[in-house]
Each structure stands twice: as C-alpha cells, then as structure tokens.
C-alpha cells in the first residue's frame, strides 16, 4: 500500500497510458472493438477511485507544502527533474479530471461508430496529459504535459468532429501551440536568469520560488525581464482559458468536437489556463501580476459581458454553451486578479463549478444531438412534453450555471464578486473606487446568463411541439440518467456545503495570496461567513 501512496501521482498519470496500450493491444490481437469501451471505462474508473486517496490519505505535507511529492532527476544535463506533487490548488482539479473522464467515456457509449479503438486511445492519452499538467512542479515537465495534451484533442476534434472539424482542429492546435511556445521561451529564460543569479540553472518550481523568496532573484515592478516573462506565461494561459480577445478558437473547437471532447475541453482543459495563471504567474511574478492586474480585470469583464451577449444570439445550442464558457471563465479570471482570499477561493471553486455545470450542459446537448442530429434551437420547441426527465435535468443544470442559490454556481460567483468588491487590485487613484465599478459590471454577467439560458430553455422546451419530428423522441435512458446523476448531485452538494472544498484549498490559496498581495488585502472567508 505504501508503494501505491508514495507513487500515487505517477500511477494516476501513467495508468491511462497503460490503458491506452492495452486498448491498442486488444484491438490488434483480438481484432474486435466491442470490449474497448469497457476497458477504457474500467481504467478511468480505477483512476478516479485511486485519486480519492489524494483526499482521504493525505498525510503530512512536505517542506515545500506539497503532498505526495516525488522528485527524481530526469535530464541531468539541463537539470530538469520529474517533480510532481499536489496542494490545495491542484488537488480538486486532479479529482475533477479523474471524475469527468468516466462520464466522458460513458457519454460516447453508442455515439462513436467510426474508429472506436483510436478514439478511446486518444481519450486515455488525453487524461494522462491533463493529470500531468496539474501535478507537475518542474516547469519543463509542466510544459511537456501542457503541450502534449494538444495532440489527442487535435485528433479527437479532427477525426470525430462535425462538418467544419479540420478548420476547428487546426485553429485550436496552432492557437494554443503559439501561446505555449512563448511560455517555453520564458521557461528557458527563467532557467538562465536563475543560473546567472545563483550559478545553477533550474526548471524546478519550488527551487525557483525559494530563490525568489530569499531575494536572490526578483523582478521589481516595471522591470523589463519581469514584464516579458510575465506576459509570455500569461499569454499561453490566457489563450487556454480563453480570455477575451484570445477566445476565438473556443467556439469553433467546442462546436465541432464530439460530445466527449467538448465535455473534457470545457470541464478540464480550460482550467489548465486559470490554474497556470494562479500557480505560476502569481507566485513567480507577483510584482508584474499586481502591475497588470487592471488589464486582466478589464479583459475579464469584457469577456463576461461579451461572451454573454454573443451567447444570447446563437442559433446553435452547443455554440451558446461554448460562449457561456467565455463568460464564466471571465469570472474566474476576475476572482483571481482581485488578489483577495475570497476572490481567489471563489475563482478556484468556480473552476470546479464550471467543470461540473458546463460539462453537464455539453452532455445534455450531446444527448439531444444523438437523437435528432441537429442542435439548432429553431428545430426544437416543446420538448418538455415528450422528454420530461430531460427537461427537468436541463433546467436544473442551467440554474446551476446561472448561479441560483443553493446550487454550486452561486457560491463561486458570489465569492468572486465579494472578493472583487473588497479588492485593492484596482486602487490606481483614490478618487474612484474602481473595484465597485468592476464588480457592478461583472454582476451584469449573471443577469445576462439568466437571459440567454432561460430564453434558450423557453424556446427549446416549453410551449407546444412545433416540429413534428420531435414528437417521437424518447426520454433519457438509464445510462444517460446514471451518468448525469453524479453531476447533479455535485451541483447541489457543492451549492449547499462548499466547506470541505474551500477548506482543502485554503492554505495554498492563502500562500499564493500572501505572495502576490500580502495578507492584509481584502476580506477573508471568516468575515464573509458564508460557509458556516
């Protein structure tokens, strides 16, 4: 058992690869593709169960504040190590990833008829890469997983996608690759700067952080190096989030991707961006983060409102959900850059919420697409008459996405806005309290969310059946209910009892916040008193 707990993260990352090889072997040697989905489901479920150990069997943190840490040399010539570990920032994202994967596999149970072997292999490889991103503590290893996650997704969109899949896949790849290459330059740059400061170059996040905290290497506000490195990292992550105006790849990728691809993309891959900003930008370049916080807050607010407005006019349900992602991820960015404990905790929480709610929305869109092979709002109407269970679940999920109290979305967005309200990140002039104004603008996003989602629900589900083709639709079957049920449960649970989630991430968030803003800024969870 000790062997498993000591190498838990490595096992989590590598198990899907083993699954992929097994899937491949199964297809080659048995020449039949029937059992593949069971193998894939089995591996993702085992991975999920193993990841629960991260919560249950945490033990004591290492000196650097990480759990399940593992650090072995990889390429000695450039001093890079296979260094992995989790803390409060990454813990829930890892669990979210392993949790979403079995659901994504189940969602494709009957939908993938073309090349199932390759599909499941890519899905498993994708899981590995995503988990690798969240656990790696060596910048080069992080980059490696960050970039490696592109390839399976590229194939998933390109082979199993919709009409316009080639365009969407190539755009997705080049957009994100361009951003991450700049990050690679910055990573090598940091290595070199660390070498000049201390004599030893390193890619190790913990070592870099220690050197910076000891004062041997720092980037004072306004320094050219600090600004360039900050933006090189930030651009890679902003594209991934995606932050307005780098969001244009997202609607295409989401719309064209197969359901499982959309679910994984929305639930996990977008979080790589926000996670990266919080983990690396905030702690490695706190001065530059403070200096340019206003820029990110403005872009986040534009994203919130713009995403919502564009979502409102989409004729395609999937595209609508995709644009709603732009809006919701804007909230996450806003919360993070408030530099308050409330806002940052809220942002982290909202990442999980968005994963659960938007993941569920994409699943639901996938269900109806499998039945009707269309996603146009105008093709539907009055669906609640023939599919009552589906309609009920859809409405609950939409409410969670809008942020109705007692559902998860509310907690996250409320914390974020509270954090922004108390924030000093925008204290540029003393005359105007920009933080209030920012919060007010962001607040309109919640109203718009209600407008576009409710309006869509009204047109799709209520009234009389307008299209005769919809009359014979069957309601959800047990598999579909079964795979959406855990998500519904989480929506309610996370809305009513967020405490365990926030508690687990608190220490790490405080550490980041202390580094980026100092402890005194903003309110605390205790003052807000919402989790008691």
């Amino acid at each position: 058992m000790d062997l498993i707990t000591e190498n838990l993260l490595t096992i989590l990352v590598l198990l899907p690869v083993v699954g992929a090889l097994l899937t491949l072997g199964h297809a080659i040697f048995w020449k039949q593709e029937g059992g593949l989905k069971w193998i894939t489901l089995g591996f993702t479920l085992v991975n999920f169960l193993l990841s629960l150990f991260l919560i249950l069997d945490k033990g004591a943190a290492s000196a650097s504040g990480f759990f399940f840490e593992k650090n072995v040399p990889w390429i000695r010539a450039i001093n890079t190590n296979y260094h992995v570990g989790v803390d409060g920032l990454s813990l829930w994202l890892v669990v979210l990833t392993t949790f979403i994967m079995p659901i994504a596999v189940l969602s494709t149970w009957h939908a993938i008829e073309k090349r199932p072997t390759a599909f499941y292999v890519f899905l498993l490889l994708l899981e590995s890469a995503m988990l690798g991103v969240f656990v790696s503590l060596d910048l080069l290893v992080f980059y490696l997983f960050f970039e490696a996650s592109l390839v399976p997704m590229f194939f998933l969109i390109g082979i199993w996608g919709g009409e316009n899949r080639v365009y969407a896949a190539v755009k997705f790849f080049i957009y994100t690759a361009l951003g991450s290459l700049l990050m690679l330059a910055a990573i090598i740059g940091l290595y070199y700067l660390h070498a000049t400061a201390t004599g030893v170059g390193t890619f190790d996040y913990v070592t870099l952080l220690n050197t910076m905290q000891a004062g041997a290497l720092n980037f004072p506000a306004g320094s050219l190096n600090g600004t360039l490195l900050f933006f090189a990292f930030a651009l890679a992550f902003a594209i991934k989030v995606p932050l307005f105006p780098f969001h244009t790849w997202l609607p295409d990728a989401h719309t064209e991707a197969p359901t499982a691809g959309s679910v994984v993309l929305a639930a996990v891959m977008l979080k790589m961006g926000t996670y990266g900003l919080m983990r690396f930008n905030f702690t490695l370049f706190p001065e530059a983060s403070r200096e340019f916080a206003y820029l990110f807050i403005i872009l986040a607010i534009i994203g919130i409102i713009y995403g919502a407005l564009v979502a409102m006019v989409q004729p395609d349900v999937k595209r609508l959900v995709a644009y709603s992602s732009v809006s919701h991820m804007g909230f996450v960015i806003l919360g993070m850059f408030s530099f308050t404990e409330l806002g940052m905790q809220g942002a982290l929480y909202q990442m999980l919420n968005h994963g659960v709610s938007t993941g569920a929305l994409f699943l639901l869109v996938g269900f109806i697409y499998e039945r009707r092979h269309t996603r146009q709002i105008s093709d539907f109407g009055g669906l609640s008459n023939v599919m009552p269970i589906y309609a009920t679940i859809f409405v609950i999920t939409a409410m969670s996405s809008i942020g109705l109290p007692f559902l998860n979305g509310f907690v996250g967005e409320f914390l974020i806005m509270l954090g922004m309200w108390n924030s000093t990140a925008l204290s540029i002039t003393s005359q105007v309290n920009w933080n209030y104004i920012a919060t007010m603008f962001a607040g309109t996003g919640v109203i718009f969310a209600a407008v576009y989602l409710l309006w869509m629900i009204q047109r799709v589900f209520f009234g009389k059946i307008t299209n005769q083709k919809n009359r014979g639709l069957r309601d959800l079957n047990w598999r579909e209910i079964g795979l959406i049920a855990p998500l519904l449960f989480l929506m309610v649970y996370m809305g009513v009892y967020p405490r365990p989630f926030l508690e687990a991430s608190k220490a790490s968030v405080l550490a980041v916040q202390e580094r980026v803003a100092g402890r005194q800024a903003g309110g605390t969870i205790e003052q807000a008193n919402i989790h008691k």
């Binding site: 040399p73 990889w74 390429i75 000695r76 010539a77 450039i78 090349r115 390759a118 080069l140 980059y143 490696l144 997983f145 970039e147 490696a148 592109l150 390839v151 590229f154 194939f155 390109g158 082979i159 899949r165 080639v166 896949a169 190539v170 790849f173 080049i174 690759a177 361009l178 290459l181 700049l182 690679l184 330059a185 090598i188 740059g189 290595y191 070199y192 070498a195 000049t196 170059g201």
Partner: protein, 513 residues
C-alpha cells in the same frame, strides 16, 4: 610490411584511433569486390555493409569509454574528442538506416546494388573524417570524398530526367562551393601559417594579415553554408532533394548535412575562438557570430515559409530540412559564445544531439514516404496522402509521430533537441542571441502549419478512390521500430546520451569520479 608495423607502434601514426573509419572503408571495398565476383546479390552486400557499420560503431563506443585513448594523433591531424565521436555515431546510424530503407527501392527500380552500397560506405568514411579531421586538409578530403559519392547517388536513377537534373545541379553547385571552401582554407593558411585547427586557434590572436583571416573566414562560411544548406546558399536543396531517389534524399538530408555541421563547428568554434585582449581574434569572432546569427534567422524563416506553400511532400521536407539547419545553428552560435570549456562542449553536444534527433526523425519520415511513393517516386504529392490514415494505420501514425517530432512537440526527440540547442544561446545572455531564440520559437509555431497539414490530410480527409495499402517489408519494419522507439527514447530518456555527448573520452572518467 616492416615499415607498416613500425608505424603501428609509433604513437604519432596511431592506426587504432582511425580504426572506425578504416573498418567502414574496408567494408566498402569488400562490398565492391564481392559485387564484382557475385553480382546481383542484394542481401549479402547489404549485410556486409551493416556488419561493417555496426562493428565501427562498437569500436567508437569502446574508444569513448576507454579513458586511455589519445586525444589526437597523426601529428594532430586527427582529433579524438566528443565532437568526433558523437557526430560519427550519428553518421553510422544514418547510413545503416539508409541501407535498410533502400531495400524497397532497390527491388522496385533495379539499382546497381553493389555500387550503391559501396558508394554509401565511402560517403560515410568521408563524413567520419569530416568529424575527426583536425586539419583543414583532412576536412576538405573528407568533404570531397563524401560529396563525390553523394553526387553519384543522386543520379542513380539514370533514366529519370529529374534524377539527372538533381545530380547535375548538385555536382556543379557543390563543386562551386568546394572551390570557395578551398580558397578560404588557403587564405586562412596564409594568415596563420598552418592548416591545423588547434594551431589556428592559437594564432588567430596574432595573425600575419588580419584581413586575410576575415576574408578566409567569410569564404569558409559560404562553402560550409552551401553544404549545410543555409539561406542564402540553400537554393539547390529543394530541386536536388525532390529529384534524387527518396532513400538518397533521406541520406543527404541527414548524413552529409550533419557532417558539414561537424566540420563547420570544428573550424569555427574550436578554430576561431575569442582570445581575450587580442583585437584580431575579437573581430573575427564577432563577425562570424553575427553572420551566423543572421544566417540562422534567415534560414529558419525562409525554410519554414517556403515549406508552407509546397504541395509535394518531399519538397516540403526539403524546405523543412533547411529550417532545421537554422535551429541547429542556434546551438552552434551558442557554442561559439560559450565562456568555459564545459559549456562549449555541452553546446557542441547539443548540436550533435539535435542532428541526431533530426536524423532519426527524418529517416523515419522518408522511410514511410519511400514506401508510399511507388515506382519512380510517383505518389509524393499531398493529395496522394488523402484519407489514407486508417487504411494503413501503422505507417500513417508513425509518419504523424515523425511530423510531431519535427515540429518539436514534447515527449518526442525533436523537443529535447530544440530545448538543448536553445539553452546555450540563451545562456550567452546576449540580446542578439536571445532574439535568435525568439525567432526560432516563432518559426516553430509557423512550422506547425505544414507539419500538421500532412496529419490533417491523412486522417481528417476522406478518400474517394480505391487505395491499397502497401505491405510493410521486414527491413522497413525494422527501420520503423528503431525510429519510432528512437523518437520516444531520445525524447524521454535521453539523459545518458546527452551526458556522453558532452564529454571527450578522457573527460568522462573525470566526471564519473
């Protein structure tokens, strides 16, 4: 005979130090003789060649771990350092792979097999001397040996006009470049009074005529620039690569190009160092660093942009090989700027390692393209690859992997190669070199477009007409296994290889203590 034995015991004419070269040369002669007496025995000559190459590689590896082997011999004409050993290993690998790749083509086209194999081996001997020569004369001899053999190979498809054009262009332009090189060497000799690279390094601080040194250096840059195909001396590359038989193209893009890099690095990094306080060497050093930095930027950019618009896969790979020469130059310039011997050796190792990763990826890609090309290299357009992805999954996924490695995606060899060559350039802490790395990164992003295009064409498009997947012959299966595993091995577990590449035989012992 008695004299020969005497020479064997004379330390200065140390045959054991050129044993790897001798073995390959002997193998070449044996192949040629065997072919004369027993013509048309394809497998046997191939096996003899591969045995010779493997034997040579084993000797090389033994010399590496043998701390007692001399650092130089033959009156300083042959160097035995990490540059020589690591590059030579790359050549041996390239030639062995080329022989395996060629088996398909040989059966299809009825090539004069004995000549082909012996030419390949003689070219390899030349390339190995280009890496081990520590004297301008030896370098030139090696270069000409390998070039002459390669000219002939480019024209092996005698009845095909494109192949003839390719050989003719390569020969005329190549001779022209060799003339520049020779002229440059003469000028360097005039300025320093020696052709030995180590002695040149000692005399650049105080040359006879500083101007001669500069002009000579410029001539050498033109000559070597042609051989490694850097912009603006690259114009021959696409035509020659497209026209030459595919296996020969694979060889040219990975073998002679790497060999030219070995000589290029030896003459410039080791021969023209910066000697503190000497203005002549300062000028020379600054000029060649600047010239190569600008050439590297141009090479990457022109290569990548031209590759985007190609519709022929071989031509696309030709331009991509130009671009890759640019990336390797980044590490080269970094080696020139290194401040300590350790850093310099590490930077040289990064160039060798980059060429190794490039060679293994490129050979794999050409192996697949060669198999798909059919007779007379007909099917090499992008549209010939439409929708073949799942019709021949092994070939298509291998080819995709090679494209991703050329692109430099993590977990593949190409990524490790890029990280390693960028590091010495950034370590120099010089604005121009930092800019060079940024240009290289932007170029990597540009190159994503055309490398992905092949994947898109193979997997995302549908094929309408009938297409029968070729059977994969055993020799090619071996190549695919070696290259695919190599791409992952050098991408993930390259630790030991890089360590080894960075140290000369004597130094390894010291490092391990």
């Amino acid at each position: 005979m008695g004299i020969f034995l005497f020479q064997l015991s004379n330390p200065n004419t140390n045959v054991s130090i050129i044993l790897p070269e001798v073995i390959v040369a002997v193998a070449g002669i044996v192949v040629m003789l065997y072919d004369t007496f027993f013509p048309k025995q394809r497998t046997v000559t191939g096996i003899i060649s591969i045995v010779g190459l493997v034997l040579s590689a084993v000797v090389l590896l033994m010399m590496w771990s043998d701390g007692a082997s001399a650092a130089s011999a033959w009156g300083g004409m042959i160097a035995n350092d990490n540059l020589r050993l690591s590059f030579s290993l790359v050549f041996l690998l390239v030639t062995a792979m080329t022989i395996l790749i060629s088996t398909v083509w040989i059966e299809r086209e009825d090539v004069p097999i004995g000549e082909y194999h012996s030419l390949l081996l003689f070219a390899t001997v030349g390339m190995m001397f280009m890496a081990s020569g520590n004297d301008l004369v030896i370098l030139f001899l090696g270069l000409e040996t390998s070039s002459l053999a390669t000219y002939v190979m480019a024209g092996l498809r005698r009845t095909d006009l494109r192949s003839n054009e390719s050989a003719m262009k390569y020969f005329i332009l190549g001779s022209f470049a060799s003339a520049f090189l020779l002229y440059g060497m003469a000028l360097i000799y005039g300025a320093t009074g020696t052709t030995n690279v180590s002695e040149i390094a000692a005399r650049v601080a105080d040359p006879n005529f500083p101007a001669l040194l500069l002009v000579g250096g410029a001539m050498l840059i033109i000559g070597f620039g042609f051989k490694v195909a850097t912009v603006p001396f690259h114009v021959w590359t696409p035509d020659v690569y497209e026209g030459a038989p595919t296996p020969v193209t694979a060889f040219m893009a990975s073998g002679p190009k790497t060999a030219a890099f070995a000589s290029f690095v030896r003459v410039f990094v080791l021969g023209f160092p910066l000697v503190a306080g000497a203005s002549a060497s300062g000028y020379l050093h600054e000029s060649w660093i600047n010239a190569l930095t600008i050439m590297a930027m141009l090479t990457m950019t022109v290569g990548n942009i031209a590759a985007i618009v190609q519709n022929n896969v071989k031509r696309m790979l030709a331009y991509s090989s130009i671009a890759h020469a640019g990336y390797a130059l980044v590490g080269f310039v970094g080696a020139g700027m290194a401040t300590t011997v350790e850093k310099r050796d590490a930077a040289i190792a990064s160039v060798a390692f980059y060429m190794l990763t490039y060679a293994i990826t490129n050979l794999g890609a050409f192996a697949v393209i060669n198999l798909l090309a059919q007779k007379n290299d007909r099917r090499t357009e992008f549209e010939d690859y439409n929708g073949i992805g799942f019709k021949t999954p092994v070939l298509a996924f291998s080819l995709s992997l090679f494209m991703l490695s050329l692109l430099g995606l993590p977990l593949t060899a190409g990524f490790m190669g890029k990280v390693l060559v960028f590091r010495p350039a950034l370590e120099a802490g010089n604005t121009m070199l930092t800019l060079l790395v940024i240009v290289a990164l932007v170029n990597t992003a540009i190159s994503a477009y055309y490398y992905l295009r092949l994947i898109v064409v193979m997997f995302f498009r549908e094929r309408t007409d009938e297409w029968i997947a070729p059977r994969i012959p055993a020799a090619l299966a071996v190549v695919l296994v070696i290259t695919v595993l190599g791409v992952f091995y050098f991408g993930i577990l390259s630790d030991n290889v890089i360590e080894k590449f960075s140290h000369s035989p004597g130094a390894t012992i010291r490092a391990e203590r």
